[in-house]
């Protein structure tokens, strides 16, 4: 499966994606379901108030453990109006960032596999939240986003409007984070004392 990452001069690259790598991945995972199993992880430490810090490092996938040379360090905080000091985006903003990245990467990779060159792509997001849910005040429909609206702007000079529309629909249908947000994920919590 390290074959997947191979980026030789012979490999075709489109949209900055190794297209032959995508087809190698599809070929390998089509006959070996185990190669498609990934496990992503995070470790987070509370610092004070709304400030906490995540360390993103190892993950399992393509039949191997992977580590980064240096873990990614990411901070959450809250803005002053939510009693924090704005030392990082807040957790619901982080979710929009993950959703943006996932839709974008899904679209760009699938476009590369279809031979469609993307020239530019921008997305913008709005999510409505009723804070009464978090605070336990009656009246909120729910605690999380009531709705998320996404605007996608794409320039792909060699593609038709229909091809672009179909790519956006494909990104919605295939994106892991789009699925996580749109459909229920079972979450199991255990407490260590």
């Amino acid at each position: 499966m390290s074959e997947l990452a191979k980026d030789t001069t012979e490999d075709k690259v489109l949209n900055g994606v190794n297209v032959d790598g995508i087809f190698r991945a599809i070929a390998i995972m089509s006959c070996d379901a185990g190669a498609a199993k990934f496990q992503f992880r995070n470790r987070n430490r509370w610092i004070t108030g709304g400030l906490n810090r995540s360390f993103v490092d190892g993950f399992y996938g393509a039949c191997n453990e992977h580590t980064r040379e240096t873990p990614f360090v990411l901070d959450n905080d809250e803005p002053p109006v939510l009693l924090g000091e704005d030392r990082g985006p807040n957790p619901v903003e982080q979710v929009l960032h993950g959703l943006a990245g996932c839709i974008t990467t899904t679209l760009v990779y699938h476009a590369a596999a279809r031979g469609i060159r993307i020239d530019e792509m921008e997305t913008s997001f709005e999510g409505d939240l009723d804070l009464r849910g978090l605070l336990g005040i009656p009246g909120a429909k729910r605690n999380g986003y009531e709705e998320i609206r996404i605007k996608v702007r794409i320039r792909a000079d060699d593609a038709t409007k229909e091809e672009i529309d179909e790519l956006v629909k494909l990104a919605e249908r295939r994106s892991p984070v789009f699925d996580i947000v749109s459909n229920p994920v079972p979450v199991k919590v255990t407490v260590d004392f």
Copy 2:
């Protein structure tokens, strides 16, 4: 509503949270539902391959528009095995980071409101993903996480085991990102040409 953010020397602070600020928010939002309405936003630009960049700046909440002095800039990328160059955590890892932050902040704020001092808190996350979903290979249960497992470690020397257990359950019940991940959020996509 700027009252909310006020941090005077008279205000009680516990766990780094302005406890009087929490009770002011509850009082205001209990009689004015409009004050509880928030809208968070994100703007993302694709760079190349799996690399894209989010700008997190303004949001609406507590009856006002808010901006940051400097927008937060966050990158998504993919590791080499997923054909990226590891210039940032990937989108499904970002979701675990948002979930971690939200559970932690929800717990710490509610503990402060209950007068419970938290001495330390760490969480760790695992999420199982079958990449066949993203790639459109038949056989995956779904495209996103099949399950997320969370381990919570808390030290709260003055609290009983029962109080800590109840705080963890409250965090699950109240956390916006826990709700977003556990339950379906309607997502509406429009394409601009």
